[in-house]
Symmetry: C2
Subunit: 436 residues, 2 copies
């Protein structure tokens, strides 16, 4: 059988990794697929200097549209990133009747609806395994492996940079700024780290996972996003003392009222596997009504781990290249005509537990005062940690864990606590999940 | 579109769970698949008394062959277990042109080659996600999600009973026999626990995983199998002291000389996620050349977790029911004409590290004598733990960790050590893997 021709857009980290893996594992892949997969076209800036593919066998160009418009190319692999050019290229590829594989989470999370509609209309596939959690086959698990379940919730460590920073802060007692700087030097974090540490990247991935889990449209703009830049070693240590670790989680949960979509630092019990996923590694915990909890762990970034997911998508595409579109797995797991309009809840309506830390005057009756405020809001407290003040300081750190409560109720209680004369400054609040 | 008709063979734990999940999640499944999946036939002993499916809508019979021979049935789901009747039914179903879904690891591991050949010849699928690690979609991960990789090795906790026993032994300092009894009372272990605690069940599953990983035939008879019944709390505690936990692992590894296939108790570093998979839970760690390590965790048994995998297979089968066989994912991941004959190594040729414990006379020079034997065999030792003898006892426990060495070399060294005058009784040997 003739080789399937693949056009790569981008030969950077992931593009280079993809070409390398396709070449190195060609025999293995052919034994699985039954036909060869040939990188026939590669587009990239400064492509003349590349040393990964053989220029005698591969058409090289600086103009990605040449690849997308070449009738020979059957599968376009978009590894450029960004929203603008990448979107134009993907839409053009679809319009030209080509299948698309992409690792671009931002693109899928923000323009996915439009892209999937175009692909469905054209009868081509758009695959995006590499867009979430790098090499972990989590998209396949959600779309296929757990397809018999009603997904109840999922929680994931889906940004390696953030997890590296939090791991170092805990293991070595280092400050956020200090670790971030090292992460930038190591190449784990960008010069502008906003996407990673403020949770935008995680929110893109969570948007995709939530769509697959609940059969809803991709709704990045409705995802609540809070970063880790305000986490202090003080809170990391208190959490530890109470038996918890702080992880930056993306959480999607279906409730009776709608769907919670939120990215924020989260205390989780230290015994959970997810609490023990360290460094740049990613993991996603998925709770299905039949299967219960399942967890998927692996490298969330890097050239070859990401390439592993890209190549898996290419293999899937090749294996089913002659299969009519309506007999393939739907692009978002649920069939386009069966998507639901379950509302996404505002963060005010989310329900979770809380870790609270406040600075209180060291005198009798303060704890009683604070407790009264929470009681008046029907908020139960689970643990109290009160630290002796340092010499010459009249303020103690008061740490409370609440039971599950609606965020807007907690907001009201915190406002009242902050207004107490004995409480100084703001109440630090970190959400907490038991994942049990 | 018309509903696809499914015949269930067996309505016990997994059969009942499968019927329940298909009924409860029918709307969700239809939204994913685009057509209804109908349990049209159920066979089971004492079927008249069942209360799960509606007898007005489902044909009930005590004769499983009636289901397999009914032209209406498109997918046969074999959940009877065992080798004999189950095999006849599966072969007959294939012969009748029906697709098969099974949770029967023993059947696939021992008769899989014959079954897959028959299915390939008939152009039908045989799916077995539920046969390994219950609800964890590990078969799909191996066949599809990691298809771009050359798998280097995998290591799994793939028997929940054994893991429950080892977890209890460690957590509570209880003896093997004591915990086994409780496991039997809880229904985690059979009255005859041989299959679970002697590693036969795990070897069945490892056989399947190894075939998918390396593209080799199913070769259960070549899998080395060692149980956990000889593990003592003493060794569990020494392991703990050295920073390790003992887990009953199924390990498959490709080396330059062939493939290691072995099930045995194994010391692994306590920091590894796999070391923290406790109770009846299962997990499989897979190392691919591109993706690096990935781990898959979840319930390895139970009605609905297993049903989750069975239903996922049914959904896959329905989604691709009109797809020609040669455009589907190959039954064993690699195409039938591309299977390899890589040899499976004897345990003597396996390479691993070892934990060794021996009873030595408490006198000067013994450690030197023992060390000399290992040095003569070019075996490096990594750690030595020597325990003070109890009052009035002249024997000390000597614990050694070796570096990686070929098993037959270690056998020779152990024989010589056991022959030393200062060493009493047999050397206890537990294999050790760093999984790094």
């Amino acid at each position: 059988m003739e080789a399937v021709k693949v056009g790569l857009l981008g030969l950077g980290t992931v593009g280079g990794g993809t070409a390398t893996v396709l070449l190195r594992n060609a025999a293995e892949i052919q034994a699985r697929v039954g036909r060869a997969i040939e990188v026939s076209h590669v587009a990239g800036l400064g492509i003349a200097d590349q040393t990964i593919v053989d220029p005698a066998k591969v058409k090289l160009t600086e103009d990605a549209f040449e690849v997308v418009n070449d009738p020979e190319v059957q599968i376009v692999v978009e590894l450029i990133g960004g929203y603008t050019l990448a979107k134009d290229l993907v839409m053009k590829a679809i319009d030209n009747g080509k299948h698309v594989v992409t690792a671009n989470k931002a693109l899928i999370a923000t323009h996915g609806t439009e892209i999937m509609q175009a692909a469905t209309a054209k009868g081509v596939t758009v695959s995006y395994e590499a867009a979430v959690a790098g090499g972990i086959p989590i998209i396949k698990a959600m779309r296929e492996g757990l397809a018999g379940n009603q997904i109840q919730w999922l929680a994931g460590i889906i940004n390696g940079t953030g997890n590296f920073i939090l791991t170092e802060m805990r293991d070595k007692g280092r400050d956020f700024d200090d670790v971030l700087k090292e992460a930038q030097e190591l190449g784990y974090a960008e010069a502008d780290p906003t996407f990673d540490v403020e949770g935008i990247d995680a929110a893109h991935k969570l948007t995709i996972l939530a769509s697959l889990a609940f059969g809803i449209e991709l709704q990045f703009e409705k995802t609540y996003t809070e970063g880790i830049s305000k986490i202090t070693t003080e809170d990391v240590n208190y959490a530890e003392e109470l038996g918890y670790r702080i992880k930056h989680l993306g959480i999607a949960r279906k409730t009776d009222n709608g769907i919670e979509l939120r990215v924020h630092p989260t205390l989780i019990p230290e015994k959970r596997l997810l609490a023990n996923v360290d460094g740049v590694m990613n993991a996603v915990l998925v709770q299905g009504d039949a299967v219960g909890p399942t967890l998927y762990y692996g490298a969330g970034a890097g050239a070859e781990p990401t390439a592993s997911a890209v190549v898996a998508d290419i293999i899937d595409t090749v294996r089913s290249i002659d299969v009519p579109a309506d007999q393939k797995v739907p692009l978002l797991g649920f069939r386009a005509d069966s998507m639901r309009d379950t509302p996404v809840l505002s963060i005010d309506d989310a329900e979770t537990s809380y870790y609270l830390r406040m600075s209180a005057e060291d005198k009798p009756g303060v704890l009683a005062e604070v407790s009264e405020v929470f009681a008046a809001h029907s908020i139960s407290l689970e643990a109290v940690l009160q630290k002796e003040p340092s010499e010459g300081v009249n303020l103690v750190n008061l740490v409370l864990l609440s039971q599950q409560v609606q965020e807007k109720n907690m907001n009201g209680a915190i406002k009242e606590v902050e207004a107490l004369a004995a409480i100084q400054g703001e109440v630090v609040r970190i959400r907490m999940e038991h994942l049990g």
